[in-house]
């Protein structure tokens, strides 16, 4: 268990690619930190630098205050779970889990005891004498976890450990990883490109894009206060609606109605170098069927025809097409939301009691104070600065 400090770390590969640029994070003891971002943003590279599998070009890695840059992976006392699990095919499950202990020259009895304990924790006891080839994907994943927890390392490093599992198993394993980490209290760095995993697992999320940290914070903070358009588009499912908007005297003109510039919107509009044309963002859950809202004063309303209705059980998702062009921004395309079409689309998350029907018009209420304004060029969140 340890505190891990990444002090302005940069990784430049031999071919000049800067995979990680000035990564600066302090990971507290016992903390569960998620590295999330689109493919190729440098998550694995960062994790590998912590593990010692990649050299650090610039900056310093400290574990419990001690510099680690030059230490070999075996001297860092960290355990890693790989996306492919990387189980040793020629060893049984027992030998796989015991491998780190064997290398550490632990006595036979203690090894035995620890392996049994790890296997018990992960429900692997019946499979101990099998080879990995004779296990299911979920069981292999658990063996990989077992190999990590068996030796009480300073930290767990996990690189997309669940991405090879089917959806249901992934949810199951997600909860068991979370529970395991809480009970062991081991500092954990977890890489994923799945925003749901990021939101549900971590104490803190580090969002990366093209080697640069976009924002660091607890899941709820990233969700409520995204620092830029990229973070706003990445976190949340379905992703935030974005519509073109124009700032006029005391008013924000949007395809879903004019919004008075009061409160935080007003402050945002008054900030320095705010362009007239901005991007407005509003989360699907900030909408509601107007007929279900008692006090519809505070907030705007908008009437549209439902293109498509999805009943999810606890909620309904209603899709609309606005008669304006879709917002185009490099900050959005990489965030991996729904593919941008020609038309501007809107998703509203409604109460299941809503009477909205496909092909029928419905009047929606939305919380105007939940609207975010983004700079169209820089993507900066004007309402959060």
């Amino acid at each position: 268990m340890a505190e891990i400090v990444l002090d302005h770390i940069t990784k430049r590969y031999a071919d000049g690619t800067v995979a990680v640029d000035d990564f600066d994070v302090r990971i507290a003891d016992h903390e569960f930190v998620i590295l999330v971002g689109p493919s190729g943003c440098g998550k694995s590279t960062t994790l590998n630098m912590i593990a010692g599998l990649e050299d650090i070009t610039e900056g310093e890695l400290r574990v419990d205050g001690r510099r680690m840059n030059e230490k070999a992976p075996r001297d860092r006392d960290m355990a890693m779970v790989f996306q492919s699990y990387a189980l040793y095919p020629h060893m049984t499950v027992r030998e796989n889990i015991a491998f780190p202990l064997k290398l550490a020259k632990m006595g036979r009895e203690e090894t035995q005891e620890r392996v049994e304990r790890a296997a018990g924790l992960l429900d692997l006891a019946p499979y101990l004498d099998r080879k990995p080839a004779a296990l299911s994907g979920g069981q292999r994943q658990r063996v990989a976890m077992g190999r990590a927890i068996v030796r009480d390392p300073k930290a767990f490093l996990m690189d997309e450990p669940l991405s090879n599992l089917d959806a249901k198993l992934r949810v199951q394993m997600r909860t068991s990883i979370s529970r395991l980490q809480k009970s062991l209290g081991t500092t954990t760095v977890y890489v994923t490109h799945d925003q749901t995993e990021a939101m549900t697992l971590g104490d803190r999320i580090v969002i990366m894009r093209a080697g640069l940290i976009q924002q660091i914070g607890p899941p709820q903070e990233l969700y409520d206060h995204p620092r830029n358009l990229f973070v706003a588009g990445f976190i949340g499912s379905p992703s935030m609606n974005v519509v073109p908007a124009r700032l006029e005297e005391g008013l924000l003109r949007t395809p879903i109605g004019d919004i008075p510039l009061r409160g935080r919107l007003g402050r945002a509009a008054e900030g320095p170098d705010v362009p007239r044309d901005v991007i407005a963002g509003i989360r699907p859950e900030s909408f509601e069927d107007a007929s279900l809202v008692h006090d519809a004063e505070e907030g705007g309303t908008f009437t549209g025809t439902v293109d498509l209705l999805e009943s999810m059980g606890p909620e309904k998702l209603a899709y609309f097409t606005l008669d304006t062009g879709a917002v185009r921004s490099e900050h959005l395309s990489e965030a991996g939301g729904e593919e941008a079409g020609e038309e501007c689309r809107l998703v509203a998350q409604l109460d299941p009691k809503s009477g909205a029907r496909r092909g029928q018009p419905v009047r929606l209420w939305y919380d105007t104070q939940a609207v975010h304004l983004f700079h169209p060029k820089t993507g900066e969140n004007l309402t959060e600065r």
């Binding site: 075996r74 355990a79 790989f82 990387a86 040793y88 095919p89 020629h90 780190p100 099998r130 080879k131």
Partner: protein
């Protein structure tokens, strides 16, 4: 590929339940096609290798010396008794075995190092691979003459390095060492190539996992790389052992078997071609074949447990 194949298999299983006859017909046709496709190769094999083998076995059962053709007669196994009780044969056998074991062992170690160098080299990989393969590309006899001249006192640069007056190729021990050297020099690249193919099947991620698990470079090699390469190593050893046991050209050029440096192949050759004794020569050839077959069987039994995941 896997998915497609199993898809087809399950589809055909479904069809077989529907109309079993039509499908067995199809399977039979497929099998027939397979046999037809193998036939040319099989026939050529039988003609060029099968018949000579049968013919040598027949010759080995006869007294048949071209110098005394009128003495030709069927004598059962007595040629075998003659050869197996001959000191010359057993000397050749042990020399061959010595050369085989020592050269294959050295080749394995050197080949492994070269395979690593070829596989891991970051700079000049192309150059390293080319240089390593050069000996393999040179005709054995030509290379053997190179070694012979190099070790001949007066003309050779290697002989010149030795204290004056020594002629290594005329003494038994040094001559065998030189034969082994020539053999190793010539065939290590082949070993390295086969081992490199084995190295390539070890997933990079396993080695990374092992280093995080606390394995040193040497432990990664012995605990992960070697076990996973075992099938490739066995193939390489099998090929090279069989090859080395039949060693002929290097010895033929370097010593021609003098000073008791002859291999079993050299003995067979001297009896068959030099001595014109077809019976004894063929007997030796058959004995070489039997030994090689035994070596092959031993290795193949070894394979059984070598393939990863083959045993539970």
């Amino acid at each position: 590929m896997n998915g497609a194949a199993s898809g087809r298999a399950s589809a055909s299983r479904g069809a077989s339940r529907a109309k079993g006859r039509a499908l067995t017909e199809g399977q039979r046709a497929e099998r027939r096609l397979g046999l037809w496709l193998c036939a040319p190769a099989a026939i050529i094999m039988v003609v060029v290798t099968g018949w000579p083998i049968v013919y040598s076995v027949l010759l080995s059962l006869q007294r048949y010396d071209l110098r005394f053709p009128e003495d030709k007669a069927w004598i059962g196994l007595s040629n075998y008794a003659t050869v197996l009780s001959s000191e010359v044969w057993w000397n050749a056998f042990w020399v061959t075995l010595l050369i085989t074991v020592v050269s294959v062992a050295i080749e394995l170690v050197l080949g492994m190092l070269l395979a690593f160098a070829m596989y891991r080299a970051i700079v000049g990989r192309g150059l390293i691979r080319t240089v390593v393969l050069i000996p393999y590309g040179i005709v054995t006899v030509a290379a053997a003459y190179g070694w012979k001249y190099a070790w001949t006192p007066g003309t050779g640069w290697l002989a010149g390095l030795l204290p004056g007056g020594s002629a290594p190729l005329t003494e038994r021990g040094p001559a065998i060492a030189i034969i082994i050297l020539a053999e190793v020099w010539k065939t290590t690249p082949f070993m390295a190539l086969l081992l490199m193919a084995g190295l390539a099947v070890v997933p990079e991620e396993l080695l990374r996992a092992a280093s995080v698990d606390g394995a040193s470079l040497w432990q990664r090699f012995t605990r992960v790389t070697l076990p996973l390469m075992k099938p490739a190593i066995l193939v390489a050893l099998l090929f090279r052992t069989l090859d080395a046991f039949r060693i002929f050209d290097n010895i033929y050029v370097l010593t021609n078997g003098s000073q008791g440096t002859g291999s079993v192949s050299i003995s067979a050759y001297h009896n068959l071609i030099g001595g014109l004794n077809l019976g004894i020569g063929s007997t030796m050839s058959v004995l070489i074949l039997v030994t090689v077959a035994i070596i092959a069987v031993v290795f193949i039994l070894g394979f059984g447990t070598a393939a990863p995941g083959s045993e539970r």
